[in-house]
């Protein structure tokens, strides 16, 4: 095979206009409704007409039987570039990198990336039982604990192998809760103490209540366009320095102790030409704290197996030594289905353009956003990450 072609930069393409439709624990509205609200918010705030949106990227678990195609008629838009990314926690960054290339190539001018889901009273159980063919055949019939049980096994194995303790996971969760206290739509608004965390009710040991996200309804969105377009719309924007994406990495590991980031990590940093030490804050995908620790390691902030020590030696609030999940992440804000895949990205853009809902990371210039998704059988299959930078 020929040597790898050098990857083209994302110069001239930007992300802007982060929007969040405030989350609700349960909603009688449909996923179409929630996604439509995100689209409305984007066009209203950008002062665009529906016809100006010539690219649309949709991520959702609960729009069935619709696909993105059906949604174009539902929403009355006529994009010339359309994407449907049912990749869960990986969908946000995957949407960003695909949209960026489309804009860069001129296949679309303005791509609206929207992600979200509804949460009916019984939709969580239904999503779990039909999540994938392997889940149906080989996971759900085993106690039907859902992702909690799958992550319990992964967490147990990580603790056994690398000596992480519940107190370490607690530190991550507590800091995220502190970051979420000023977020108006966060599901969890009460301060979390170590005692609360440690004495929470067991879900699937070692997973306890505060290791789990709360499923809810909500939607997130942003625009991807050329820098000149963002300027003409008077929208503050951020640059995309690099991205990576990987699926089904390390398939022969008997249990997940690392994610696909580890395969592509040098690409992520070299393409952006920054080092882990240059990063002002990190948004990980946090459906469970163990996967946060794996991201600290696999993204290169510490060596494999050293995340427990890394956690012990840092503070993770927005004024801490290592600001992390600056709006509280899904663990505190809630998991609006596939919206969770866009949550970290939307919050990262807000921080970089200095317009966060909650507390600000002081003088933030560079950040890493990471995505992780799809427990198809026994592990999360999709990993991705992006390095973003403040425009000026």
């Amino acid at each position: 095979m020929a040597p790898d072609a050098k990857r083209k930069s994302y110069d001239g393409v930007v992300a802007c206009l982060p929007v969040t439709i405030p989350y609700r624990r349960y909603s009688t509205n449909s996923a179409q409704w929630w996604l439509g609200r995100a689209l409305q918010e984007l066009t209203k705030r950008a002062k665009l007409r529906p016809v100006d949106i010539d690219g649309l990227s949709v991520s959702s678990f609960t729009v069935a039987p619709d696909t993105a195609v059906g949604l174009t008629q539902h929403f009355g838009v006529s994009p010339r570039w359309l994407d449907h990314i049912p990749f869960g926690g990986a969908s946000g960054i995957v949407a960003l990198r695909r949209a960026a290339r489309a804009v860069q190539a001129g296949d679309a001018d303005i791509v609206a990336c929207i992600a979200g889901d509804t949460n009916h009273v019984d939709s969580f159980r239904k999503t779990l039982s039909t999540f994938s063919r392997f889940a149906q055949d080989a996971v759900y019939p085993y106690g039907s604990g859902g992702a909690n049980a799958s992550f319990a096994l992964i967490t147990k194995s990580y603790m056994n192998t690398y000596g992480a303790k519940r107190e370490d996971f607690a530190k991550i969760c507590i800091a995220q809760r502190d970051n979420a206290l000023s977020i108006p739509y966060a599901m969890m608004k009460k301060k979390l103490t170590l005692d609360d965390y440690m004495s929470a009710r067991p879900i699937a040991d070692p997973i306890h209540l505060f290791d789990c996200v709360m499923p809810c309804a909500g939607a997130e969105g942003l625009l991807v366009c050329r820098e000149a377009t963002a300027k003409s719309l008077r929208l503050p924007y951020v640059r995309i320095l690099s991205t990576i994406e990987r699926h089904n990495a390390f398939a022969s590991d008997p249990i997940q102790l690392r994610g696909g980031w580890a395969v592509d990590i040098s690409d992520l940093w070299s393409m952006a030409d920054v080092k882990p030490g240059d990063v002002d804050f990190l948004q990980t995908y946090d459906d469970y704290p163990v996967i946060v620790m794996m991201q600290f390691e696999d993204l290169g902030f510490c060596a494999k197996g050293e995340a427990p020590d890394f956690v012990r030696s840092h503070t993770f609030t927005n004024d801490g030594s290592f600001p992390h999940n600056t709006s509280g992440g899904q663990l505190s804000v809630g998991q609006a289905g596939a919206g969770g895949g866009l949550l970290g990205l939307v919050e990262a853009v807000r921080q970089l353009v200095a317009q966060p809902f909650g507390s600000r990371v002081p003088d933030a210039k560079t950040c890493v956003v990471s995505g992780f998704g799809m427990i198809n059988y026994d592990r999360g299959l999709s990993s991705c990450a992006a390095i973003l930078a403040r425009a000026a």
Partner: protein, 413 residues
């Protein structure tokens, strides 16, 4: 260490009987390859014909070489339990009323990783052996057992959900005049059944073995004639609510084909005893069994059909008999679908010619009644759905799988 089961107390008649629930039964078509193996107590996974990779979960494309040739083959069941958890919160109503429920990740020696139910004596970090079991929904699941048998291991509550163990259960043997019925009474007594009801028609007619039958502990002889709808209904009304396992031992063995038998008298009798007898039992006992599928330690568990293996391929010397057996097999398939909502298994036990009077002229190998009875009890203890007993039954099973047409020709000559 598994805590031994405690004999259940008499049920409080005022207490509501819990309605049976099932775990999710839906599987991909390919995954039912596991169901086929579990039904017979085999441990089979897909093995790629081209690159020999052992595959799990079931797939339609080999993840090593993209081959589509992925038959299920018996493979070694050993592995290591690398992580375990106890599910305390479940979204499924069946598991919700059974939590805490342990599951774990097993790395098999033959390659794949299986998320499995855990026997109480399976320990994290230790070696285990995997079994495929049919759960209450009738679909296959993997269960990790300790590597070596442990005391009282059959009493493990997770395992007992997957089996029909006769221990502390109450059994009805429909016909105690037959050698097989009598052997079964003994076998169930040895397996710890609480009561063994043995049906006898026309009790004034003497028969050999009656005294021996009476001497077996916990045997209770009851009037039952499977050819008499009223008798069957009456027995169900009398004892149906305390019968957890029904074994239909009614038999009618006569030689003769379909063309070369004169008149329909014998054929009608055959159908009356076998097919209509089964239908009477199914109608009288089936609904009660199905309603009691989750009724505690001695919940209703199984309906057992003893079937000539010639239900699967007609044996012209006993051609009409074979046809009646085939009718019973078809009915059993229907009963499976009808009893599954209660988590009640229908176990078909296929046997070759028996070592009894009615097969006097047939050359060996033949099946001793005690061997058949032993296979029934073991099948229930393992929670099987299809059991083949004896060399002839096994021979026919294998030849059917290879070339049914060849078997049809050869069995007639």
């Amino acid at each position: 260490m598994t805590e031994p089961l405690i004999r259940p107390k008499r049920k409080n008649p005022l207490q509501r009987t819990r309605r049976p629930l099932s775990p999710q039964a839906v599987r991909s078509r390919t995954a039912h390859g596991l169901t086929a193996a579990a039904a017979e107590g085999r441990f089979a996974l897909q093995v790629c014909e081209d690159c020999k990779t052992v595959i799990y979960p079931p797939r339609d494309c080999c993840p090593s070489c993209f081959s589509a040739r992925l038959p299920f083959r018996d493979v070694a069941r050993g592995g290591v339990l690398i992580a375990e958890t106890t599910v305390q919160t479940s979204t499924d109503p069946y598991f919700r009323e059974r939590t805490p429920w342990r599951v774990g990740t097993v790395k098999l020696d033959v390659g794949p990783v299986i998320v499995a139910h855990l026997h109480g004596d399976a320990q994290e970090g230790r070696r285990v052996r995997l079994d495929l079991k049919l759960d209450k929904s009738g679909s296959a699941v993997a269960m990790a057992l300790p590597e070596k048998d442990t005391p009282n291991m059959a009493d493990d509550p997770h395992l007992r959900e997957m089996t029909c163990d006769p221990k502390f259960r109450r059994v009805l043997i429909t016909d105690g005049r037959t050698a097989v019925g009598q052997a079964l009474a003994k076998a169930f007594a040895n397996a710890g059944a609480s009561i063994i009801f043995v049906g006898i028609a026309d009790s004034w007619k003497p028969f050999s073995g009656l005294e021996a039958l009476r001497r077996i502990e916990r045997v209770e002889i009851v009037p039952l004639d499977v050819t008499d709808t009223e008798s069957v209904t009456e027995q169900a009304e009398q004892n149906g609510a305390r019968i957890d396992i029904v074994v239909n031992t009614a038999e009618h063995v006569r030689s003769g084909g379909v063309v070369d038998r004169h008149g329909l008298t014998v054929t009608r009798e055959e159908m009356d005893v076998r097919y209509l007898g089964l239908a009477r039992l199914a109608q009288a006992f089936g609904p009660i069994l199905r309603a009691r599928g989750a009724d505690g330690v001695n919940s209703a568990a199984a309906f057992v059909n003893l079937l000539s293996v010639h239900a699967l391929m007609n044996w012209p010397i006993y051609g009409s008999y074979s046809a009646a057996e085939a009718a019973c097999l078809s009915a059993a398939q229907c009963m499976r679908a009808e009893l599954r909502p209660g988590g009640v298994k229908v176990m078909n036990v296929f046997f070759g010619p028996l070592e009894t009077e009615w097969f006097q002229t047939v050359p060996p190998p033949k099946v001793a009644p005690a061997a058949l009875a032993g296979a029934v009890v073991r099948g229930l203890q393992q929670g099987l759905e299809d059991v083949f007993v004896g060399d002839v039954a096994e021979d026919i099973r294998q030849r059917l799988a290879v070339n049914p047409k060849a078997l049809e020709r050869e069995i007639a000559s």
